[in-house]
Amino acid sequence: MRAFSPSLERLAPWAAVVVLILLWEGLVRLFQVPSFIFPSALDAGRALIDYAGPIGKHSWQTFWTTLIGFGLGVVVGLALGITIGASRFLYNACYPLLVGFNAIPKVAFVPILVVWFGIGSVPAILTAFLICFFPIVVNVATGLATLEPEMEDVLRVLGARRIDVLLKVGLPRSLPYFFASLKVAITLAFVGTVVSETVASNQGIGYLMMSAGSQMRMGLVFAGLIVISAMAMVMYELFSWLEKRMTGWAHRGQR
């Protein structure tokens, strides 16, 4: 394979975005798709500017509900992951249950949450939480459970207690798994929030898209999509950067 220069490689993702936008605009124009069915990139861009105020307000709502849900997911995911990862018994006991729980479409929880908490931010936060804690649990638990038995022997013979093994070896060792799961979890959290907002809220990007769609203002709907994916991408990159900073030793091959 030909090697590309580093600067070209850095530009490549941006170039891909530009190509996608051009393709989008070109195809819509070529086939003369009406704007209320599939708006052109230009229409979406125009909506983004025209409705900058409401979009900003709603995306802020989506952003902070997502972050709270994600934060809860991290706390619960870590706690649960450490608990079941540190004990083979609990690992075997809880794993099938977790898998079963994860298989439930989280949108199915929204009506239940609405009954319990009413319409608004709380169901959005909880949906984001429910959808994003699973990968964190699985990754942390896997990181802990795959500890080499020899390493454990080396420490146990010195009189190490379980907590010592966990702190000195288990947790540092599972950090790369943890940070990798954060990247997945943050994007899932956005999915959770938006799904909940489209069903049961009167604020947030999900709600904005829903109501714009019902008025056939497809430009605005697509503007909403763009904002969500932009937010998710920024957060993904943030956690990806954090991962490299915190666990550089696990990524030595990629330097």
């Binding site: 020899e150 022997d153 420490l155 013979v157 010195l158 009189g159 190490a160 000195k168 666990t247 030793w249």
Partner: protein, 259 residues
């Protein structure tokens, strides 16, 4: 003779599948270098766990330093075929790890850190890793990692060093180099060594006494004192007495395998 490690009719079974080792009787002097050889699956690892108190015999008794083994034996250090160094710690910090765990060093770790670092650097220097103390394990070759692993096993100045095929994954030249490293360490410090290995030349070159184990359930079928003069130069392994000794041991193992 007063035994440092004593096995008295020891058998061990993990579950209903029969004994892993059976009827082991042996005495190891303080400062003795013993090697265990045998076919794979002969319970050598079980033997190590019994010695260090990570497992307890289902029959018989294990005594170390005059006392029955009742729990993990902190006077022992262990090294395995995989160096098992922690990739987020430098070589130096890896070597220091046992001192963060074992008593009484654990409590003094913060206060005496400088002194401990001195121990670790001295130890690394004796195995030829002085310049690699601040490197990470993945920046080291396999042989260097194994040297560091042995340093980690020795940092808390154990009386008993347990080695489970420590050189098994290394190339022949590196392996012979490390034999000499271990020989010199042992000759300087005179801890007791229990070395489990597949390599007869390794066993004969390093050990005072070689025990040959049978297939599962593992029993000691032969105890052989190696009376080659010390210090043993590596060249001795290419001379006639040594070669005859190894051939003799080899034929015994062959008998066990074919029986």
């Amino acid at each position: 003779m007063t035994a440092f490690v004593e096995f008295d009719a020891v058998s061990h079974a993990y579950d209903g599948s029969g004994n892993a080792i059976e009827g082991i009787d042996l005495k190891i002097r303080e400062g003795e270098f013993v090697a265990f050889v045998g076919p794979s699956g002969c319970g050598k690892s079980t033997f190590m766990k019994l010695c260090t108190g990570l497992q307890f015999p289902t029959q018989g008794a294990v005594r170390v330093a005059g006392e029955g083994v009742a729990g993990p034996l902190k006077i022992s250090g262990m090294a395995f075929q995989n160096a098992n160094l922690l990739p987020w710690r430098t070589t130096l910090d890896n070597v220091l790890l046992p001192l963060e765990i074992v008593q009484p060093y654990r409590q003094q770790f913060r206060k005496r850190r400088e002194e401990f670092v001195g121990w670790a650097r001295d130890l690394l220097e004796t195995v030829g890793l002085a310049d690699y103390a601040d490197k990470y394990p993945w920046q080291l070759s396999g042989g260097m990692q194994q040297r560091a692993s042995i340093c980690r096993a020795l940092i808390h100045r154990p009386q008993l060093l347990m080695l489970d095929e420590p050189f098994g994954a290394l190339d022949a030249f590196t392996r012979e180099e490390l034999w000499c490293v271990l020989r010199d360490l042992w000759q300087a410090q005179r801890f007791t060594v229990i070395l489990v290995t597949h390599d007869l030349r390794e066993a004969a070159f390093l050990a005072d006494t070689v025990y040959v184990m049978s297939r599962r359930p593992g029993r000691v079928v032969e105890r052989r004192e190696i009376d080659l003069p010390r210090p043993r130069p590596l060249e001795a392994t290419y001379e006639k007495p040594f070669i005859e000794l190894v051939q003799d041991l080899r034929s015994q193992i062959g008998d066990i395998r074919s029986s």
